[in-house]
């Protein structure tokens, strides 16, 4: 499974995540900052709910007419002299790109950050089958690539790394002699990558949105790396998830604005670049050859299903930035390059329930993700739908979940049992209790308490507390 990250089972991954205190404070700090910036940016638009409705409407219209718009897009790209390859699977996409690279006798490829190329595990494939080097140019991705590490956040991929770790990594790989200051580390990366842009044979990019009417692709960055990756090499290959397009520039404008506000709270990032075909006749820079690879890889199975709305996603990561579960377990715990609520919905659809059945259960269903989604994907409802499918149709909820459900079913099916259960809970769990926490659970509690403590049931039952409160005792 190319999208898959690591081989550890879910509980171990979560355990590692919870115990990584730097990662946890980095994630919570980043979440607080990104979410605050997002809020400020959307408040500046006094009518954000109207924007969300418009965003949703545009995305739904495109999905309902995806066959039409992809036909139009490919016609337009070809009319501008570009080459379009429709890839049904990850394998098809990789093989096509590898062929182009072989044909160009590529020795070096520069690449700007792209989730879909991570999804199809493009870099390793090219290194192995073409023998060329593939250099990630986004600063975060560049840092991760040096140690073959993986992204832990959709827009801030190296969030889990300390600056000292980056320094150490640069020392080990480049004999870097500078300090751990981000300015200095960045300057070093700038210097190293400058040379790569100038000597690369091919530039590979992702695609934030394609524009059907003009056959354009739009890429947003703050670093300018996508621009240099496409302006200097002779060949450009852009890889897009098949659903990432809009009808015209007018809808592009709306969605790019919503994307960057939702992702990092910017009105626009430093660079929004719209590229249409290869360079024009007489142009000196820009690619001589342009390839657009449109990837299905499981997406069409989602189209027309009860999960279709997940294809509205514009990959802003706002749902991860507000998620209480992501906050505590971090991106790597999801075992997929797609983390956070979007990952918990999308990964089981693209990668299957065998691999990702735990993810829909790793949610409190609080609905915060749904509220911040700029294109109104009902994320928590989709998570709930996954649970229903897993439990009802597939009959394979995680075992402790099944046990808990059956106990809960038994305990709460009659009010007598419920009263009894909630009354005895405190004393029944007493042997496991230390202070007001349970640290060595059994049965369904074990998975939880292996990693952290579970609050012990209060001696006073909720209903008694509530009754007393009504009487004015509290």
């Amino acid at each position: 499974m190319p999208m898959k990250v690591g081989d550890e089972p879910f509980n171990n991954r979560v355990g590692e995540g919870i115990q990584n205190t730097f990662m946890r404070s980095a994630v919570s700090g980043a979440q607080d900052r990104l979410e605050k910036n997002r809020q400020l940016a959307v408040e500046e638009l006094s009518n954000w709910e109207e924007w969300r409705s418009l965003g949703e409407e545009i995305r739904q219209h495109v999905l309902a007419n995806l066959d039409y718009y992809l036909t139009q897009l490919s016609d337009q790209v070809a009319a501008r002299g570009g080459h379009v390859f429709f890839a049904a699977s990850a394998e098809d996409a990789r093989a096509y790109i590898a062929n182009v690279a072989k044909e160009k006798q590529a020795k070096k490829i520069v690449k700007s950050k792209s989730m879909v190329t991570e999804e199809i595990d493009l870099n390793h494939y090219l290194e192995k089958h073409v023998g060329c080097s593939v250099v990630e140019t986004d600063l975060g991705e560049y840092i991760l690539q040096l140690d073959d590490d993986l992204p832990s956040h959709i827009v801030a991929p190296a969030l889990h790394r300390k600056k000292e770790q980056v320094q150490e990594s640069f020392q080990r790989h480049h004999q870097y002699e500078g300090s751990e200051r981000p300015e200095e580390l960045t300057k070093h990366a700038r210097k190293m990558l400058r040379d790569d842009y100038l000597t690369a044979d091919i530039g590979i990019t992702g695609c934030n949105f394609a524009v059907a009417e003009t056959g354009s692709v739009c890429i947003v960055t703050n670093e300018g790396n996508a621009d240099l990756s496409t302006a200097l090499p002779k060949t450009q290959i852009t890889v897009m998830g098949m659903e990432r397009l809009v009808p015209t520039f007018e809808e592009l404008e709306v969605l790019v604005n919503m994307l960057t506000r939702s992702a990092v709270g910017q009105k626009l990032p430093s660079y929004v670049t719209v590229l249409s075909g290869p360079r024009q006749e007489g142009d000196v820079d820009g690619p001589e050859e342009f390839h657009l690879v449109i990837v299905d890889n499981g997406r069409s199975e989602i189209l027309g299903s009860e999960f279709q709305s997940i294809l509205q996603c514009i990959r802003c990561g706002a749902c991860a930035n507000i998620c209480p579960v992501y906050r505590h377990v971090g991106g790597h715990s999801y075992g997929s390059i797609y983390s956070g609520p979007i990952g918990a919905v999308l990964s089981p659809l693209l990668g299957g329930y065998d691999e990702y059945k735990e993810l829909p259960f790793a949610s409190t269903l609080c609905g915060a993700c749904t509220d911040v989604c700029p294109v109104k994907i009902p994320l928590h409802e989709l998570l709930h739908k996954h649970r229903q499918t897993i439990v009802e149709k597939e009959g394979r909820a995680p075992i402790s979940e099944r046990f808990l459900m059956s106990i809960f079913g038994m305990g709460s099916s009659s009010s007598g049992m419920y009263k009894f259960g909630s009354k005895v809970a405190s004393s029944a769990l007493k042997p496991l209790t230390k202070g007001d926490h349970i640290s060595k659970g059994v049965g369904p509690l074990k998975n939880w308490t292996d990693i952290r403590e579970f609050p012990a049931p209060k001696k006073e039952r909720f209903r008694d507390w509530f009754d007393n409160r009504q009487k004015g005792d509290h």
Partner: protein
């Protein structure tokens, strides 16, 4: 030159079938969207008010924003160039520089001060890249400028190298005050209008809002990553 399309038929057929139809529709009318909040943002502002919005936004995107009259442009430009450490400079090849009265600055004043200035010249091909890569300053012109986000819009063509606004350490963008519009909405409409009037679409349109930056290391903002480290907008009061 016409490009190629591979594997389209089976791919699209699968999508049509998932959408429960036998084939893709021949034509789809873009709907009238139920909401159009983008047109309400910053509407009914005068050009002076839009300029004020732009100036304020520049303070938030690490961009030095200078307003000058057409008459003072050459003097202002010379000062900005000196303040940015002088040459070598790479500028687009563009008749507007002459119209703005910069000819003598470019061809006399700067050379006299030993400040090297090159103009992008499609006739010499890749030599431009070698020059622009060594340039300290790149000079370009914004065709459309977005007040809300502090964005200059650059269109590539044979005389407008894409890399002039990316490879030099510092970037200077000339912004005619008349080019300022409320936001990206108006730029998108203008671009579509131009296409409908038969203009060719530039192979690269850059919407640039300030210098390049990154917060990829511990979420600490660093200005100047792959593109320019310093950005100056010079607004020309051409109205």
């Amino acid at each position: 030159m016409k490009g190629t399309i591979q594997n389209r038929e089976s791919f699209i057929r699968q999508l049509s079938s998932r959408l429960q139809r036998s084939a893709a529709p021949k034509h789809v009318e873009r709907p009238q969207w139920g909401y159009t909040p983008q047109h309400k943002t910053l509407q009914n502002l005068s050009q002076d008010e839009l300029l004020a919005v732009l100036q304020k936004q520049c303070t938030r995107i690490n961009t030095n924003c200078i307003v000058t009259s057409s008459a003072d442009l050459a003097t202002t430009m010379e000062k900005v160039i000196t303040d940015n450490g002088g040459g070598p400079i790479m500028a687009w090849q563009d008749e507007r520089f002459d119209a703005y009265g910069l000819t003598s600055l470019f061809t006399q004043t700067l050379p006299e001060k030993q400040i090297e200035l090159h103009t992008w010249d499609p006739a010499v091909g890749r030599e431009n890249i070698a020059l622009v890569e060594k340039a300290n300053i790149g000079i370009t012109i914004s065709d459309i400028t977005l007040a809300e986000s502090g964005t200059a819009v650059l269109f590539s063509n044979p005389n407008h190298g894409r890399t002039v606004s990316f490879l030099p350490t510092k970037s200077i963008i000339l912004i005619p005050k008349s080019s300022i519009v409320p936001r990206m909405t108006q730029a998108a409409m203008q671009i579509r209008e131009r296409l409908q009037n038969g203009e060719t679409l530039a192979s690269c349109i850059n919407f640039i809002s300030g210098p390049s930056n990154s917060a990829d290391i511990e979420m600490i903002l660093v200005v100047g990553v792959h593109g320019p480290m310093y950005m100056t907008y010079i607004i020309i009061d051409d109205l």
